[in-house]
Subunit: 198 residues, 6 copies
């Protein structure tokens, strides 16, 4: 028994495979991302998920490592009954916008279609002559990485905004305490340390 | 129907998942690599395949892009009836050996076991306290990237040394002519150009 | 007939050539820059124009590529009847201030005089023992890159603040729509996409 | 006569040397840092002082070069009657938090204990399994680099907040005028230049 | 009187400007390069000369700085009665072949035609769908940078292999002694120093 | 009691301190280096020892980390009864020769004199107008890092070529086995692994 069904093999071996590319930082992967991925699956034979700013981690804006994000995405895809071939690829920043599309192309299998709502990504692929779809974003107020990280930091309610598998990974890597620690300032740390020692 | 069988889900969701890491440049993936991957599958719940020197391409030693190598490996795994969960992750060089193990750990899901026959990789993981297996290499004379690239350049017989899917990918990306072009020197190019123009 | 008149050749071949260096980001070149360049031409035999942050492009602050800026400056110099030899040289950022003067010296022909109103540039050349002139800035409210980019983004009136040749180049490279696209946020893009699709 | 007393030699040669690591940017070294260093000396056999962001200088936030900071720290240690072996080591930024602890370890002699009140440093060493002490910060309002640089820029009173040797070094490297120059904006520079020329 | 004749202005302002791109390291510029440049001038309206490995200098293979090479090329073009608009642009290495064509495009005005006899350059532009001409190389044995640098190091006869202006620049920057110094090994240097001191 | 005698304090506080700079890779520190350091101590008030290629380690040519080399040098200086103030400073490579002298100056306290027998270092400081001494190298055949590393790899006799403290450090960091492991090729590793498993 094989993890790829005949339906998928058709995709991977066919000469007319239609691949879609979707990039995000996934800090963390949330239900808004999953909706986009589901939409991609309906429109393409194979999907490529690029994890942007792969070299970043342990900041308030980019708390999770690339490897942790690979785990979040893969587990969620597995649990989501996705019937398409997928590729999950960490991509380091290049800091040179004019070269970014070539960088993406070098790091991924060939693709025909890009899904993004980011202004820079959209413009760069447009100038490169690539077809872009900007998916409608649902519930932008809550379904955003910024809001989810804010809730994690303030012990708010965040678990319902992300897939169950992401909750699991964040717990396994001690992600809640990591985010809360990263937002402390120096005085907090001294005081906390002081309490421990007194 | 899902690409991950219940056997695999057990791995990905279990708390005691045993992951093995295997890194290579895969320029290109060959049958020796596949033997090692098969061995890993027997000994671990999930396997992580790191594609080293991901930022390199279009040289005689590193002809293929990371994306092309992702394609080679994924297609081969699909065709190989692998019964384990896998991750295929391009990893850029860091040029700082003392930080390399941390770099790998940041880019991948957690793992317990490393497979490598490379002296530097072996030493670095050893100093980091990680268990290493050095698989026995079969038919090192022919099953090596160096030998396979040499044969491609000289129109020798190389197709039997790599999986069928790799032959396909190399053909799709015009890899044979790329390798042969890269080995030309300036005089060759002028002469060839001269012939075309005369 | 030659593009360099005898007057200029005297400069380039003489042993006592006096070269002046002027650096800016030129995002885009505007009439304030041109006034400074004209002043340089009166005081030096040859002028070197360094294009700073050459590696940047496609951001709201640095929208144009180095090549586009080379084109803006060269066309404007040609149309300006400049009677001096000039060099237009893109210079990538180094991110190490203490090495910046050496970086500039390595990328340009030797020079004796620097023109700049930037605090950091002025201080760095001062510490390196180089003569600096800080030209009086005219009409700083309108003759600034920040103001011109703001007007381009908001469909304000900007064409009179830059040379005619710069208007041309910006139009040729679709610069107005690039700047306006880069300032969109995610919601704008989704809505715009939505309208297109409905 | 030797610069290391027998007491220190015991430290450096012993097999059970206990080394403590303390990192800061030291822009500049101030009395708060010195208090921490004194505390370290009471608790460890040898102390390692890491100078962070070593590649930075000539900005309002990071005005001094690594070499200037080495001089500040060394002169102060010498004048402070420190009875312990010390190492003063400039450390360049890596821009990859997940690799930062390995970077520190590669650049320094082995250590067992870390002193820091910085949230990121504390978290990173915690995840690496290293013991961390967060020293109580005294008089945070005045004993902070930010406040001291602000006072230098505005001709306020700052000399009492730093060791005497630091005042010396800042004067020798013309640090006050450097900081004040770096905070000028373009208009100031033009006006000042204008006054000089009129 | 202006440095650009009406003939050239036609090029720079026309909508159908045909630009040719030629890249080399020019260590140093020699008569073989000049022949290619002359050929370009016959076939294009404007020419772009890219100075590769711009960040390198002071090695036996790359002895001259980018600024020195800008000077060599510009002076030679001026003296050569070139009737076409030109751009001389230093280009730093990127170390990522798959991104190199985008890098070149970002640093230069748009071009339609590339001239190169280098295998890698030729292949990369071919894969990017750009027209390439490989000029016939004349007298490759003597008209090569390698041979000219060898002769400079060994006090051989090299002045006839490069334009007169290049001889001038090399002398002005003390280039002969630089190259000869760079090839000394440690023992030579000690002995030479010893002689000086004895 | 203080680690710096009054003799040294005179150096560190005086306005006319004469500092000498000596750079090497110290892979490892050997008796030839120590002879040069002793000579420096006779001729300068303070000495600065720069550890080049600080970011490198775990290769056959650069086996030891910067931190390990700091330890070798510091322990040896302590044991050598050096009566001068010293600074031991790891310096990362910059890969831009034209900026290297500025890089050194930014990372170190000010100095007036450079000691080096390296052709590139000597030339770069010469072009920067700095005084250079090229010390006579004694017993170059054996007192070279290359030879010492070769002997370590082949179980030759190397302990007499380096200070006693360096032998200690190399043993503490398991340096002999590190060097021997790094020189193994893939087949060796497989065979060795095979023996272990059989």
């Amino acid at each position: 028994m094989n993890q790829y069904t005949s339906e998928k093999l058709q995709g991977i071996h066919g000469t007319s495979v239609k691949r879609a590319f979707y990039i995000g930082r996934f800090q963390p992967l949330h239900n808004g991302h999953v909706m986009v991925i589901n939409m991609l699956c309906e429109q393409a034979d194979e999907i490529i998920i690029g994890i942007g700013s792969a070299q970043k981690s342990h900041t308030q804006v980019d708390p999770f490592t690339a490897g942790e994000r690979v785990l979040m995405i893969t587990r969620t895809l597995v649990a989501s009954n996705i019937h398409k071939m997928w590729y999950v690829i960490p991509i380091e920043d290049l800091q040179r916008n004019a070269l970014w599309v070539s960088h993406i192309r070098a790091m991924t299998p060939p693709f025909d279609q890009v899904y993004s709502s980011n202004a820079l990504v959209t413009r760069l692929f447009f100038e490169a002559g690539v077809d872009i779809c900007s998916p409608i974003m649902h519930e932008r107020d809550s379904l955003s990485g910024t809001e989810i990280r804010r809730r994690i930091c303030t012990n708010g309610s965040w678990e319902d905004l992300v897939p169950y598998e992401v909750v699991q990974v964040i717990k396994e890597v001690d992600g809640v305490s990591r985010l809360q620690d990263l937002m402390l300032d120096d005085v907090d740390i001294s005081e906390r340390a002081n309490m421990h020692h007194s």
